[in-house]
Symmetry: C2
Subunit: 327 residues, 2 copies
């Protein structure tokens, strides 16, 4: 017949084959990939989708969109104590997407696939009449039976978070008001936190070893802590003044105290929230210090089912909306 | 705080938790699932996405949309010789979707998850301003090192296909012309072939044992055979009159000979195309007979790189378009 590869095959070969370094990906020329699971390991599987206009701005840089799509999945793996071994991608593209968009998207994805040692194993590219949609399934591994769950927090455990909370929610507000660059340097830093999450994979092993329960903070600290507590059948008391804020977030909240609630209930932090027995805290802290990642105690797990955020006087503070939800 | 589960959590609990029978799915209440891979097995991973208006009609029955989304992935596993162990789902829904749509979608998915012993392991539900989009990652297993690839066909191997070819392509044409029900019984049967593929999982083991190369026919027999041959570095000669057609397809082609080309180049067959050494043919045929699935020899693998479809006089026939591509 002599007809060559189809448009889709050429697109895949040009943009995505370079990311498919895993031998089981077969250069993306087959219908499926194969993977030999490490002996004695469990697989950890997670799948998050992002949609233009819902989870990212249609004019966000395409390489940043790709990075975010992969990183939100890697953040899930990190919080479960898992290290990535590869991912699959489904990309639905509008008919009028610019070829350059795809080139930049693939470049961003390639950079992160390499940086996080997480090669592309396979996937699908399809047309949509709607917005660009990126669905990623990430696959990680943990030693058998050791995936860290939301369930497992015990009364008396200390509650810790990595990094700082609320930057992305404040960055999103700035992005909406001021556009992609923000007004000045501090604003740009917050917008960057919204645009490009930092999966805490370097702490995956420490979380697995020292935490009783963990999850990534993707839908707001308040709502996500409630989820962790609900799964564990416990409650929590959190000192609001202990919640770690970046200097930029602190400055912004200083001008509008209502933004503190945004910071605590907004989404897209992609930090690790974990419950840690008191006697494990020093070891976890040492690992975090070695990795250069802030780790902050913000409260304690309690035996009752209530999750309370208290101010410096010990009075509980209520938030209008619990968790931010993209849905 | 006392705020309960979010809208997304309730939606997942109501519609999808019943499908998550695998213990590692944790009732869909965690950020990830875990899976203990069978000893000595390789995982087989595939991911196909379908979009309303591109791969299915927006007014297709929601349960059929769900079944198709899962089955196109199971068809890939079957052709690779793999049996499913579970799947992950990303579902992007328009804001105005009817609640009933989701109920029916979940019911169709639940029925097939059970029928094919392929439980839901996790996923994501998101909002889109565009058409409903269903992305599924299916996970299967094969004994280590035995995934059947497109590569591997050897000169002299016989080329076989399961079932009948072209029904779905003709069904799609009828669906476009006559609406979801078609005109009469024969038309309804072809439309049903388009709507609901039949993954040949019951032959997965036999394909693994007896075929040198295989893939599922999803983008048209002509184009897909070229792909298999290209991956294997071989050619093929196919007797057109040997290509198995259903009585309904034969009747329709009888009224319009041009439709034969449609049948051979159209997509959505989801039959298995395989190359099989002559001495393995009887064993494979016996397995297919036992499973009640037609298996038809249509040609032979050749040492040159050309794929030729020849008529009863031995003259090669050319098709205007090689493979059908959704992209």
């Amino acid at each position: 017949m002599g007809s060559g590869p189809s448009g889709e095959e050429e697109l895949i070969a040009r943009h995505f084959r370079p990311l498919a370094s895993h031998p089981g990906a077969l250069g993306l020329t087959d219908d499926a990939a194969f993977l030999q699971p490490p002996e004695g390991a469990d697989l950890v599987l997670t799948k998050d989708a992002i949609v233009a206009g819902t989870h990212f701005f249609p004019d966000d840089p395409p390489d940043a969109v790709a990075r975010k799509a992969l990183r939100v999945n890697l953040s899930d793996l990190a919080a479960k104590g898992a290290l990535p071994i590869g991912f699959l991608l489904a990309l639905a593209l509008p008919a009028d997407h610019a070829d350059d968009w795809l080139t930049q998207f693939a470049a961003g994805l390639a950079a992160d696939a390499e940086a996080f040692a997480c090669p592309l194993l396979g996937g699908d590219t399809v047309r949509t009449s709607g917005p660009a949609t990126v669905s990623i399934t990430a696959i990680g591994t943990v030693p058998r039976g050791t995936m860290v769950q939301r369930k497992g927090a015990l009364p008396g455990d200390r509650i810790v978070v990595t990094g700082t909370i609320g930057d992305a929610a404040l960055g999103l507000a700035l992005r909406r008001e001021r556009g992609p660059q923000g007004g000045e340097a501090g604003e740009a830093a917050l917008i960057a936190r919204y645009l490009t999450p930092q999966p805490r994979l370097v702490l995956a092993g420490a979380v697995r070893r020292w935490a009783t329960a963990a999850m990534d903070v993707s839908d707001g600290l308040v709502g996500d802590l409630e989820r962790l507590c609900r799964a564990s059948g416990v409650g929590a008391i959190v000192q609001l003044e202990a919640v770690p804020l970046s200097p930029q977030a602190r400055a912004m909240i200083g001008t509008d105290a209502d933004l503190f609630a945004n910071a605590l209930t907004g989404g897209d932090d992609y930090e690790i929230l974990a419950s840690v027995p008191e006697h494990n805290l020093a070891a976890l802290r040492e690992q975090a210090e070695r990795a250069g990642i802030a780790l902050t105690e913000i409260g304690t797990v309690t035996a009752n089912a209530e999750v309370a955020f208290v101010d410096t006087g010990g009075a509980p503070v209520r938030f209008a909306r619990g968790a931010f939800s993209h849905f």
